[in-house]
């Protein structure tokens, strides 16, 4: 590495896998982890002997030690306890979730202790930081971290807190599709509308961007937070296990944790192989105990045709989600000049073919699907710290990921700033009183997609008093929402007649108090106490 300036990294903190990149000798490149791999599983565990495991090693025991292995923490970060997303996650996650001390945020039980979700993500970030330091040969303190475009303010703040716990100064939180497009457009002069189709391990995110000269504007986002590579793996596991059981008198390897772990690992690998080859071999000797105690082997071939047949509906769902995203954003397929494929699952030929058929054009192969988000983050990080080293500093414009509005009579939600509005923005709506001689109104600021206010996220509230007593509907009140380029939301209410005015600034909270965050930072390097994990025969 030739730069002598302070190193800075870009991190793609994924649901299933994460990657870290840096600009080295003027070129962005993904940094291999200490096992030599470019992707690090976003998995953290406490083993039976109390050892903390992060990354690939944690993944290897994710099934045999499921209750003490935390994966997909990204689904939970910054979420409120009791929200639909957390309830959905509780149904599928094998580890225990609990409310935080104030009952609002989510905690995860691992190795007999409750952790804030930010601390779990921080362990992954710290691992990536250590990998970068080992590669670059010097301490790394600054980073840009990417998040999905639909993340709300609380989720972004929680991700930032995770970075702080990991010992990083988070220079900026950047949207994943923006980052991908940034890597794609790095060094070129592009002016076009681009769709980023990101099918990762756990989620599908579809984003539409307008790229001007070094300006990246997200104009639409959509997706499915429960559609990804793991669903494809599960189809293969079920198929292979079913065939094995039929062949061996009903012995189902999914019922043995060790066998299921091996089967899942092997099916994931076979799935990846089938992107390059027409057939892949599964060889799992001594997989499961047979009827007389003798271990049975699983030896078979899987073909690409079988994989495509088993996952056809999943691929179809991907296209349905893409179509809905374009419709919501009011973008016609013909307007799309480029389609970028992001995420490991887009290596699957059937997925590529489906995208090609839908858009009527060949998707771009100019970017590496699993590295591109981290590369874009590294470019942005470099632009922020060493702008003189890049020809042009990219300007990233973002949109509001969800509707913003207030609660109105009847408990309904009225949108003031619709989702996908480019920030900075300012919009004013006029509201009236609903009761006779009403002299005060409560302004509850909400974020979400539901018509019912209670189902959306409450960001803050205030009371505007001193209103002229008058018949209902006679008083007019301007409510103005103002979002700055930094994403700070200000809400003001103004009585047109009396001139009375009240306002608040909504600050994103991650669920961790300042004191709690500081306490976690202080103890982050403390040795982990041996966890009283109950021993159990798998």
């Amino acid at each position: 590495m030739s730069e002598t300036r302070e190193p800075v990294i870009g991190i793609d903190l994924g649901t299933s896998n994460s990657a870290v990149a840096a600009v080295v000798d003027g070129q962005p490149r993904v940094i291999p982890n200490r096992a030599g791999l470019l992707l690090t599983p976003s998995i953290v565990a406490v083993s039976r002997n109390g050892k903390r495991l992060v990354g690939g090693i944690a993944k290897r025991q994710a099934i045999t030690n499921a209750e003490n292995t935390v994966h997909a923490a990204k689904r939970l970060i910054g979420r409120r306890w009791g929200s639909r997303e957390v309830e959905d996650a509780r149904e599928v996650l094998p580890y225990e979730l609990a409310p935080g001390p104030d009952g609002h945020d989510v905690r995860v039980r691992m190795g007999g202790r409750l952790y804030p979700v930010q601390e779990i993500s921080a362990l992954v970030l710290a691992e990536l930081k250590a990998d970068a330091e080992a590669f670059l040969g010097e301490p790394v303190k600054k980073a840009v971290i990417t998040v999905p475009a639909y993340f709300n303010d609380g989720q972004r703040q929680a991700t930032k807190d995770a970075g702080v716990i990991a010992g990083l100064e988070v220079l900026r939180i950047v949207n994943e599709p923006t980052s991908a497009a940034l890597a794609y457009g790095f060094g070129r002069q592009l002016e076009k509308k681009v769709v980023v189709f990101d099918l990762g391990g756990g989620t599908l995110d579809v984003s539409i961007l307008d790229i001007g000269k070094d300006v990246y504007d997200v104009v639409g986002v959509g997706g499915d937070t429960y559609l990804g590579g793991e669903d494809f793996d599960r189809r293969l596991v079920d198929f292979v296990a079913g065939a094995f059981a039929a062949e061996h008198g009903g012995i189902d390897p999914r019922k043995d944790k060790m066998a299921l772990q091996r089967l899942k690992d092997a099916c994931e690998k076979a799935k990846c192989d089938l992107s390059e080859l027409p057939a892949a071999a599964l060889s799992l000797p001594f997989l499961v105990a047979g009827p007389e105690g003798k271990a049975l082997h699983l030896e078979r071939q899987l073909t690409r045709e079988e994989l495509e047949r088993l996952t056809k509906d999943l691929v179809d769902r991907c296209i349905e989600v893409t179509d809905k995203t374009l419709r919501d954003a009011g973008v016609r397929r013909a307007e799309v000049a480029e389609v970028l494929l992001v995420g490991g699952m887009t290596r699957m030929p059937r997925v590529q073919a489906a995208v090609r058929t839908y858009f009527g054009r060949e998707p771009s192969r100019g970017v590496h699907p699993e590295e591109v988000v981290a590369l874009g983050a590294a470019i942005q990080a470099q632009a922020l710290v060493h702008p003189e080293q890049l020809a042009a500093e990219p300007l990233l414009l973002d949109v509001t990921p969800q509707h913003l509005g207030i609660m109105v009579a009847g408990g309904y939600f009225r949108t003031v700033i619709p989702r996908n509005t480019t920030v900075p923005t300012s919009q004013t709506h006029v509201f009236t009183t609903v009761q006779e001689n009403q002299t005060a109104v409560r302004i509850a600021v909400l974020q979400g997609a539901s018509e019912r206010a209670v189902e959306n996220e409450l960001l803050g509230e205030f009371v505007l008093s001193g209103i002229r007593a008058a018949p209902r509907g006679a008083v007019e009140i301007d409510v103005t929402f103002d979002i700055t380029a930094d994403g700070i939301l200000g809400v003001a209410a103004h009585d047109r007649e009396t001139g009375q005015r009240q306002s608040i600034n909504v600050t994103a909270t991650s669920g961790l108090s300042h004191d709690e965050l500081e306490a976690i930072v202080k103890q982050r390097d403390a040795p982990l106490p041996a966890a009283p994990v109950q021993e159990e025969e798998p």
Binding site: T64, A259, R262, G293, E535
Partner: protein, 179 residues
């Protein structure tokens, strides 16, 4: 039968070459093959008892285990106790023996592995693995040995009690399957 006989891979000495199989050897008659029909019809012939083998059955194994314990033969006693537990997982005396001697037994097995930081690698070819005499737990541990994880990591990810993991790994090392 020669180690390079039908169905057996040729090559350097390996675990199954050095330790006799528990099955009686199959001898091919000159010019003939296996009489599969007859073999399928007839009940399997139990292998002959080895010299010095304890009497079969839970009480026989447990009695022999007591004798070996008295002689400080931990390994021999443990092998028999495991046989008892395989047949009767709730056998109180066998369980008590394991609990009483767990630390000593674990240390004994771990000493055969060397440094816990060492990264073992599989010493046999993939095709040869099928010929080993392993149970599914050993199969799981063997599948985790890929030249990147240390013994300590294997203990962490095995999901088995430490004694059990140490015992399986020590046996794999002894059999030169890993090293």
């Amino acid at each position: 039968m020669s180690p390079t006989g039908p169905g057996r891979p040729a090559g350097p000495s390996s675990a199954w070459d050095e330790e006799p199989s528990r099955e009686p050897p199959i001898v091919l008659e000159s010019g003939g093959g296996l009489d599969l029909m007859a073999l399928a019809d007839a009940p399997p012939v139990p292998p002959p008892a080895r010299a010095g083998e304890p009497a079969a059955g839970v009480e026989g194994w447990m009695s022999a285990a007591r004798q070996r314990m008295a002689l400080d033969d931990f390994t021999g006693a443990l092998e028999l106790v495991e046989r008892v537990l395989a047949a009767d997982p709730a056998h109180a005396e066998a369980r008590a023996y394991l609990a009483r001697n767990e630390a000593a037994l674990t240390a004994m097995y771990e000493s055969k592995l060397g440094s816990m930081q060492r990264v073992p690698a599989v010493q046999v070819r993939p095709a040869q693995v099928l010929w080993l005499n392993l149970d599914h737990r050993a199969g799981f541990l063997l599948a985790q040995v890929d030249g990147t994880v240390s013994y300590e990591d294997l203990f962490a990810l095995s999901g088995l009690p430490r004694l059990e993991t140490a015992r399986i790994l020590a046996r794999l090392v002894e059999q030169r399957v890993i090293g």
